[in-house]
Symmetry: C2
C-alpha cells in the first residue's frame, strides 16, 4: 500500500537510504523528505560527492589508511615528525581518527582492513598482516601497539597477529591498549569482563 | 586535526550527510565509510536518485500531496472510490502514509505544508488554508478531520483552522483525532496531559 502513496522517485531514494547501517524505513523516509524540502542544490551537491567518492579516495599502499587520490602515501606515515618505529595496528581506517583525537600518539598506523570473523567469512588471509611484517622489518619497528576493537573478533585478531609475529621470529615489543573502566562509568554498571580486565591491569600507586 | 586525517572527498561527504536530521558527525562518518566500502555502483545509484529527486517529484495542486512529476493530481484524490466529501487535514505529506497504513480511511487528504510556529517564522499565511476552504466549497465537503500533530504547534494550528472555517461561515462537521493512551502503554507511564485527554475522551461501554 505504502508503495502507491509516495512518488516513485521519493520511494526509490527511501529504499536506497534504508540500506545505510542502522537506518530503518522511518528514518530513511525522514532523510528523503528532508532532502526533498531542502534546496535542489543541496541534493545535487550530495549527489556529486557520492559520485566522486570512489574515484577520489584511495588507499595508502604501506599503511592502508585512506588517502586522497592524488597522494601517494598517507601523510601520517610520510610526516617526518611521526615515529616510524612505533606502529599502532587498527582494524579500520576510521579507528585512526579516534586515536588521533587523543593527541597522545606520534607513531604511525597500520590498517588491517577488518578483524578475523569466520561467521562473516573473514579469515587472516584477507587482512594486511604480511604487509605489517614486511614493514616491521623495513622500518625497524620497535613497538607494535595492537589497537583492535574490544570485541571477540578484535581479541582473536590480536592473538593471531601476536602469534604470527612470534612465528616469524621477529623481536619487537608488542602491546595492547589497556582494558578497564571507561571514564565516567560507575563501578556498579561496569560489566564483569571489563571489571576483570580492570583488576588484572591495576596500576600500583 | 580531524580534517587532515581523512581524504577530502570523504570529509566532504561526511559534512553533507551530517546535515541530515538527527545525524551527528559519528553517524555521518559511519554512513560515508559504509558507502565507500560498498560498490561504486551503489553510491552512483544513490547519487542518481538524489539528482533526480527534485525534478521527478511534484505537488498536487489540490491536495498538496507529493506526486510523480508526470501526474496531474494525487491518485488519492482522483481515485473514484475515495470519498471527496470527507477530508483529513495533515501537516506534512508523510503523514498521509501513516494514515493510509491504518487502512481505515477512505476519504481524501489536504496537506497544510507545516504547522503554525512563530519561533520558526511560520504563520498561517504560509499554510494551504485558503485552498482548503475553496476545496470544501467546491467538493461539498461534509466532514473535516483535523489530523495535525499532538504538539503545541499542531494544537494551535488545529484551533486556527477551526476558527478560520467558522469565520468563513462554512457549515461542516469538524473533528480531531482522538487523544488518549497509545496501545501497549502502561497507565503509569502515560504523561499527565495524555492521561487528561484520555479521561476527557472516555467512551461509555
Amino acid at each position: 500500500m505504502h508503495r502507491q502513496i509516495l512518488p516513485t522517485a521519493l520511494l526509490r531514494l527511501i529504499d536506497e537510504l534504508g540500506s545505510l547501517p542502522g537506518v530503518g524505513p522511518r528514518t530513511a523516509e525522514r532523510y528523503a523528505y528532508h532532502l526533498l524540502r531542502a534546496s535542489d542544490k543541496k541534493s545535487h551537491t550530495l549527489a556529486d560527492s557520492l559520485a566522486k567518492l570512489h574515484t577520489q579516495v584511495s588507499t595508502c599502499p604501506i599503511t592502508f589508511a585512506l588517502i586522497d587520490f592524488d597522494e601517494q602515501y598517507s601523510k601520517l606515515y610520510t610526516d617526518e615528525s611521526r615515529n616510524k618505529q612505533l606502529v599502532a595496528l587498527v582494524e579500520e581506517p576510521l579507528d585512526i581518527v579516534a586515536l588521533e583525537k587523543t593527541g597522545q600518539f606520534n607513531g604511525t598506523y597500520h590498517v588491517l582492513g577488518g578483524a578475523i570473523s569466520p561467521i562473516d567469512g573473514i579469515g587472516p588471509e584477507q587482512l594486511h598482516i604480511p604487509e605489517l611484517v614486511q614493514r616491521i622489518k623495513k622500518d625497524n619497528v620497535i613497538e607494535l601497539i595492537i589497537a583492535t576493537n574490544a570485541s571477540v573478533e578484535g581479541e582473536s585478531t590480536a592473538l593471531f597477529v601476536q602469534n604470527y609475529i612470534k612465528d616469524a621470529d621477529i623481536q619487537i615489543d608488542v602491546s595492547r591498549l589497556a582494558r578497564g573502566i571507561p571514564v565516567g562509568v560507575d563501578l556498579e554498571y561496569a560489566d564483569q569482563i571489563t571489571l576483570g580486565h580492570a583488576l588484572e591491569g591495576r596500576k600500583k600507586l
